[in-house]
């Protein structure tokens, strides 16, 4: 099913024309309302009338997370405070959080995009849908919540706490839909096992998973253990929140709501736009946002765009899975290493739990990489009564890592449940190098 066929299945020519029109309007809007952008555009000698078609976007300056922090709290807000009805703040591990204000129209657009997303997953007003993203300053909870209500399904604002009570509701109320991080979905599955709840006891059929990178293997595991079909949902608070893009029934790339968020892929080093199909850093320009519009916001997420009409009928461009973060990229002994590469290897071996930690250090001027993984309880059998047997298992993983990463990694086996689970953006790296 398609929520808004007019937009989701628009012809490419019509979409480009609409995007060009909206780009001109948004540039004019920020030029007159955000001193930060007016200064930047004036420095480049660009006036709003220079931007007429979507191709003109290449002339515009980029916006970075640092720009958002430097203009804390309201420096990039375009709408007057009286028009702002909601403010979210993204978690900043360093410095100020990013403050994002939304007007009533912004919340409406967000709900619309979320409705497109849920409809693509097959969610209807007949579903009981549980939102287990964090509610509060994080955009996940309320973002998904408004979309669920918008399509008329019954929304359960479960949040992330009290997993056992949540599972009771999933079983007793016959909840059919679930939105949460993929790692929380696995945590739910583990808790189900602990409580003796089988997947036959519950009615979950659709899962909207996002807010952290995950892999195809992780999807298979979640689908198998919870008995549902799991779809990717992508978004970021600087641009809107969840539902900037969403998978369809094909589960092959996520359709971008490109009438609202214009995507580009750039080379993260040269900042040059890359042709369709090539991997690089994803950049978004908000085409309709009033509260805090952004021009060419660098997401730091690495992926590629998949053009062409999808088998589902949508023409909206798709983005691939996030392959890594341009700022997560580790350079170890001169080789680019992404935590997601390690993840795919760990998830391909059933002996290990789907959790891992990369510890990078420098010993005698040589970078070292250690990968910590948890052995699964059910795979620790009687053969592991000697360290030699454990070493063999570690070596098996080390060999696979070497072939994927092109550098040697030392594997350290950890006891079950000892690597921290994440309920939001995953943190998988400890870099001890003092450079």
């Amino acid at each position: 099913m398609i929520w808004n066929p007019n937009k989701e299945c628009m012809s490419r020519d019509e979409m480009s024309a609409l995007q060009g029109k909206r780009l001109h309007k948004i540039v004019e809007y920020v030029y007159h309302n955000v001193p930060f952008y007016r200064n930047k555009l004036q420095e480049l000698d660009i006036r709003p009338d220079d931007i007429q078609t979507i191709e003109d976007i290449k002339k515009l300056p980029f916006t970075t997370k640092k720009d958002l922090r430097d203009n804390y709290p309201f420096g990039l807000q375009a709408a007057p405070q009286s028009q702002i009805i909601r403010i979210h703040a993204s978690s900043g591990t360093t410095g100020n959080p990013t403050i994002v204000g939304y007007t009533r129209k912004d919340i409406g657009v967000w709900s619309e995009c979320m409705a497109r997303c849920l409809t693509a997953y097959g969610v209807t007003r007949d579903d009981i849908f549980s939102v287990a993203y964090g509610y509060g300053l994080f955009t996940g909870g309320l973002g998904a919540h408004y979309g669920v209500e918008h399509i008329g399904a019954s929304c359960i604002p479960a949040g992330t706490g009290n997993t056992e009570k949540h599972l009771k509701l999933i079983r007793d109320l016959g909840i059919t839909g679930l939105a949460c991080t993929p790692s929380y979905a696995l945590y739910l599955a583990e808790t189900m096992d602990k409580l003796g709840i089988r997947k036959e006891d519950i009615k979950l059929r659709v899962g909207a998973f996002g807010a952290e990178p995950w892999t195809e293997n992780m999807r298979q595991e979640i689908q198998e253990r919870l008995g549902l079909k799991g779809y990717n949902i992508y978004g970021l608070s600087e641009v809107m929140g969840p539902s900037v893009s969403y998978e369809c029934q094909m589960q092959h790339g996520s359709h971008i709501c490109e009438d609202h968020f214009y995507p580009e892929i750039i080379n993260p080093v040269t900042l040059e736009p890359l042709p369709a199909g090539q991997s690089g850093e994803l950049v978004f320009t908000t085409l309709t946002k009033e509260g805090m519009p952004v021009l060419r916001y660098r997401t730091r997420d690495l992926c590629s765009l998949l053009p062409g009409t999808c088998d589902c009928g949508r023409t909206a461009v798709r983005m691939s899975r996030i392959e890594g973060r341009s700022d997560d990229m580790l350079i170890i002994r001169g080789i680019n290493v992404f935590p997601s590469q390690v993840e795919s290897v760990v998830l391909s071996m059933p002996e290990f739990a789907p959790r891992y930690m990369l510890v990078v250090d420098r010993v005698n001027n040589l970078d070292t990489l250690q990968v910590q993984v948890e052995i699964r309880q059910e795979f620790f059998t009687g053969v592991f009564d000697t360290p030699a047997a454990v070493d063999q298992l570690e070596k098996k993983l080390a060999a696979k890592l070497k072939s994927v990463l092109s550098i040697a990694a030392k594997v350290q086996l950890k006891a079950p449940g000892t690597i921290e689970r994440s309920q939001g953006k995953s943190a998988h790296v400890i870099d001890k190098r003092k450079l």
């Binding site: 592991f384 009564d385 360290p387 449940g417």
Partner: protein, 142 residues
Amino acid sequence: MTIPQLSIFIENRSGTLITVLNVLKQAGIQIIASTIADTAEYGIYRLICSEPMRACEELKKAGVAVALSGVFALEIDDQPGRAADAVKTFSEAGISITYMYSFLLRGKGILVFRTDDNDHAAAVITSNQLKTIDESALTALV
């Protein structure tokens, strides 16, 4: 011919061993003999105890990586040279001892070990009329 031994994966961090021991304590399990094969980062804690099946289940419930396997327990006289005699028997039969530890039971020495060929070892024990103890002998102890 073998007795059950628990093998437990223990990380080299403070608090990991006591977690395991507390589970056994709360379950009322008595430890009869134990040894740790340690490496720089972890150890394999091998344990002979009362009610090994129940001990294994309780540890699993507590999230511990634990498994049961069979090991030989040979009874020898508590006198100098008896362990050497026993090991020599296996060595002459071409069997390698993977690991071994010992404890005293009612004035007798008990050698616990695993070999690289347990079927062969069992045959050697039978043909040499070596005395092994079984699980019931351990249960009688506690």
